[in-house]
Symmetry: C2
Subunit: 300 residues, 2 copies
Amino acid sequence: MLVRTFVPAHITAFFVPVFHDDPLKAGSLGAGINLDKGTNVFASIETGTLERHIHIAFNGEPVGKKRAIISYSVADELVPNDFVGEVEIWQYFDFPNGYGFGNSAGGALGTALALSYTFGGTWLKAAQTAHRHEVLNRGGLGDVVGQLAGGIEVRVKPGGPGIGVVDNLFFEDYRVLVVPLGRLSTREVLDGDVVKAIEVEGKLALEKLLRSPSPERMMLLAREFAEKTGLLSGELLELAEELDKVISTPSSMIMLGRGLFALLRKDEVENAIGVVSDLNLPYDVAKIHEGKPKVGRWIG
Amino acid sequence: MLVRTFVPAHITAFFVPVFHDDPLKAGSLGAGINLDKGTNVFASIETGTLERHIHIAFNGEPVGKKRAIISYSVADELVPNDFVGEVEIWQYFDFPNGYGFGNSAGGALGTALALSYTFGGTWLKAAQTAHRHEVLNRGGLGDVVGQLAGGIEVRVKPGGPGIGVVDNLFFEDYRVLVVPLGRLSTREVLDGDVVKAIEVEGKLALEKLLRSPSPERMMLLAREFAEKTGLLSGELLELAEELDKVISTPSSMIMLGRGLFALLRKDEVENAIGVVSDLNLPYDVAKIHEGKPKVGRWIG
């Protein structure tokens, strides 16, 4: 049996981390965008072997438990203990790992949904399993609930699935430009001094957004957040300013990765691409993914 | 400006009503199915008149405030007080009113989403407004949160949007047969003696479903619930038994309407239709609507 899941890439615009000893109560406040590119997970389940085996591969390459601890933990929890056979989890990422696209949560949630679909379970329990292991292994705090909500989401009450509350903004037909330039360690940022500024500016941005909720305002507040926390500075800020000359809504920084994202109206796509390609920078243009991740039997 | 929303028809399989003085805390436990047919709402907003006017029409016919009190209340709350112009809300229903398809919630939620899209707001606030007026006017307790969840939903914690928690079952490619035979007053049922049986049997069904969650089991438990509460009896029960001869998963009763529904595998559709059309009964076949309701600008 082959099951396929798609989990959108999730870009955080601004956030407030909320830590808690109970991983289901840990989470974040903030806002973000889900893309129609992201993580595809194919789960192949075959019986007929003598032992219970779980294998995971990233982009076609087998990975060990250490590099894929979150997805291995999810799979180990959701494959029944008495199952005898081979479980292969093939995860394919449209964006590079560690660049702030929620790949870790995408792999965890995609794995949880595929295995729950196969072995029994519900959406909520699968999502809670993914969130729990994301938090315990410090993969992320808000990606799973953001990805479940789809669209342009606003985390108004922190926590995992069933506990946190996620709102959605209405939006018109936007494209999303992403400029992924490098990794930024979530752990290092959250362990550093900047975390206090993030808490203050993140709460302020959320309050302001809810007072007058729109995607354009979210981007404006994201940019304020990125600059005031000091996360966006130097060359990356200069690039954002270059981009802003040809688009109507401010670009901002991918939280957390060394990269930018922007909402583009259809008639702005060409000029925005012009700016980044003139500088020989990598970029991608995606649509916004509405609604939940996808799960289903895969007939290849 | 013209905005269109689609809200799926929502059939409750079994339920437990949960009353509360705070309408956002009132709701229900239970399970249900969302269809790809339901309520389409077109909101037309025009300025240039001298007063603030709100008009509502059901299936093309203007309706007064009394007959559409829920949607009028929603619209009156979401159209700004200082707006001067004409707001026309055209609601079209694929199924008859009062037959248990969640039309009242569909109209309320569709109206709330369309007006929030137009005048500002978020999904959560729009949905809470719809739920609140549904509860205050006793339109329903669980339809709005069920319709927001989409798919096959399980209400595991009662309450309105942002408070109640709704889970989803995984499902394969099913069609839904509906046999709508008449009205059943939710108010009368909930005011009657049967409410105690509903509470006992509804809780039991939910517990059993969560222990082993699947759409097939939901239908089996729905049927047990319908029979044990005494809501399904007589001719309607006989019809359910006739249907069950040609399908693999038990049919059950639409809560609350005089009617039946059933999950059909593709190869069962023809025989199931045969049973109801031989008896000259009205019927419809729909797909399951996954994900959220739809909202967007309408270019007619």
